[in-house]
Symmetry: C2
């Protein structure tokens, strides 16, 4: 269990700011853990309070409604993913290496990111009945497709748009499917086999 | 709105049996429609009754609890998919043609099966928090992998097991991902482009 940072009252301001930051970080970690375990449906103020070892009142203070918890989990998901992909692109020695690094890291299993896959699948399902979540989802996925398109264009400037789009959507879908299916059946989808499937599709940029 | 078959009482037995069958079919159609629109989370006795134009009491008579509705939607999903795949295999002129037909029909968009994709994604998310649904999901996916393995083995008996498993899980994951992502962004995932992505992966059986 994650403990909410509780210090006695009356400390100096610097310490209080640190307490508030700590408390937000604890609630954030608890939100993530509950979403990963029970899905967005089970992401309630009560469940987050229990996980964080806080009163529900304290959770309400930071996240007044369930929709605020959901928005926070969504924000965490996007922020983590974008930071990871940006770093890989920055470190890569060539466009081909950047494309490979970015695509392989979309797979959650090889980097023990199954929590992320569970939260993501849960958002997918929530998007069916919620227009706001559907809109967020669409924006997030378009940003990924734009990134993949930029990378494949750097590797294969000779290809036409249709060819880039075909590979970009294929890579996004293959990694999406591998993440979703391996959550429930890791045995049938070993991590190394997942990487191999992605590498084979990436091999298209080396053809012709 | 689907209407529940209501006849005046006192008819002969044959007519009554027909009425009961009609009523079950109406409730079944309503269950499917609600699951596709609102996901498993929104699949309630009240929603099904409203959709079918029945009292909730009548729905309770056939499906005493929400879990019975969910099980029924799941059963419909599996039965439809298996019947479609069996028919395609039976009609195919060669193992290669059977493999292509089965794999391409896993894609929902080209055959306007988006409802099915929505129900499926909803079950995926429900499986996160529900062990019974997770178990159903695992069995369904293993049956698909077994079918794909049987088909790729018929086409490429010279391959080793690892090669068959890699292609089978790749095809299952690619179609899964394309179905899930295109629900929310049909524009970025045109049906013809989805088929092309699948054909390219299938092309592996023609290599070497």
């Amino acid at each position: 269990m994650i403990r909410c940072g509780g210090r006695p009252r009356g400390r100096i301001d610097v310490a209080r700011t640190r307490d508030i930051d700590k408390q937000r970080a604890d609630l954030s970690a608890a939100t993530w853990a509950v979403a990963a375990e029970r899905g967005i449906t089970g992401l309630t103020v009560r469940a987050v309070a229990e996980r964080a070892g806080c009163t529900t009142g304290l959770v309400f203070h930071t996240f007044p409604a369930k929709r605020d918890l959901v928005a926070h989990a969504r924000e965490l998901l996007l922020r983590r993913a974008a930071a990871r992909l940006d770093a890989l692109e920055a470190e890569a020695a060539s466009p081909r290496e950047a494309l490979r690094a970015v695509t392989v890291t979309l797979l959650t299993a090889p980097r023990s990111g199954e929590d992320e896959a569970r939260v993501w699948v849960s958002f997918l399902a929530a998007a069916i009945a919620d227009a706001t979540i559907a809109e967020h989802h669409l924006r997030g996925n378009r940003a990924l497709l734009a990134r993949l398109g930029r990378l494949t264009r750097a590797v294969r400037p000779d290809w036409d748009d249709a060819r880039h789009e075909q590979l970009g959507t294929g890579l996004a879908a293959l990694t999406e499917g591998l993440n979703a299916l391996s959550i429930f059946d890791a045995e049938s989808y070993p991590a190394a086999q997942q990487v191999e499937a992605v590498e084979r599709m990436l091999g298209q940029v080396d053809e012709d």
